[in-house]
Amino acid sequence: MSDLEQRLRFALAPVEPPARLTDRFERALTEITDAAVEELADWELRSMRDPRNWLRPVGAGVAAGLAGGALVVVQARQRQRRRSKGRRRALVTGVRNAAQDARGRLRR
């Protein structure tokens, strides 16, 4: 290795990222997930008015849960996680109830 290459290695030493960067990234992922859940909830309310869509949101609810999985990845704050999980759980439960109701109606 030439002298200049050694000096380059010295000059371009790796830079440690600030700790706050991981917090920022977690927040960004949280926002994305929250936005997806809210969008899903709005879409759900609209689609529930049309019986043809009654079974579709079940899949969509699961998809929102999947997107939220990324939060676990970077150790998102417990409070945010609890809130997000709670919302998703309520969402999926609501969708399941609606689907059961829809199936009951179809049997009648």
Partner: protein, 180 residues
């Protein structure tokens, strides 16, 4: 349920990727944009974009390391960053003390001027040469990885790095020699 556990495994792998390469992406971003504020933005955007396309990248990687793919994302975002904001990279890195964390004080006192000359010379290189040197020396990537990150052949990458070092050496020599 199998789908859920598959997603959980994928998220875990993304988590590993994030932890393993956060410093690489940040170092690349910092030497590329020249200040911590924009380096943080660039790093965050890089990982968000990587998260969106992670499953596909993994599928298409055939088991090869994903570091070049990550750095390529940062490279493309940095190019857009300058285009969108009509900015140029800062010629002087905002915080020359970054090296204090990795170099002892005596070496810093002795080599500060030289250090600044080298960093300035790197910043003045054409974009592709500068990027290649950052990848080689800050991230310790080999020719194959750099080639993948820059979308070039290994041969072309080897030539690129050779020319970058030669140009930098010439530029430092010119600075040392008094005009006239």
């Amino acid at each position: 349920m199998a789908e859920l556990s598959g997603k959980a495994a994928l998220d875990q792998e993304f988590s590993d990727l994030y932890r393993r390469h956060l410093r690489d992406v940040y170092s690349y971003s910092y030497y590329r944009v020249g200040n911590h504020h924009d380096a943080e933005d660039l790093t965050e955007q890089t990982f968000l974009q990587a998260y969106r396309h992670f499953e596909r990248a993994q599928r298409e990687s055939d088991g090869r390391p994903l570091r070049p793919w990550l750095i390529r994302i940062a490279h493309n975002l940095a190019a857009n960053y300058y285009r969108d904001r009509s900015r140029r990279p800062q010629s002087n890195l905002e915080d020359a003390s970054i090296v204090s964390a990795t170099h002892d004080t005596e070496a810093l006192v002795e080599g500060r001027q030289e250090l600044e000359a080298i960093l300035g010379g790197v910043q003045r290189l054409p974009e592709d040469r500068r990027d290649a040197l950052i990848m080689r020396f800050a991230l310790e990537m080999d020719n194959r990885e750099i080639a993948r990150a820059l979308g070039r052949s290994e041969g072309a990458t080897k030539v690129l790095i050779h020319r970058a070092i030669r140009q930098l050496a010439q530029s430092l020599k010119d600075e040392d020699e008094p005009p006239g």
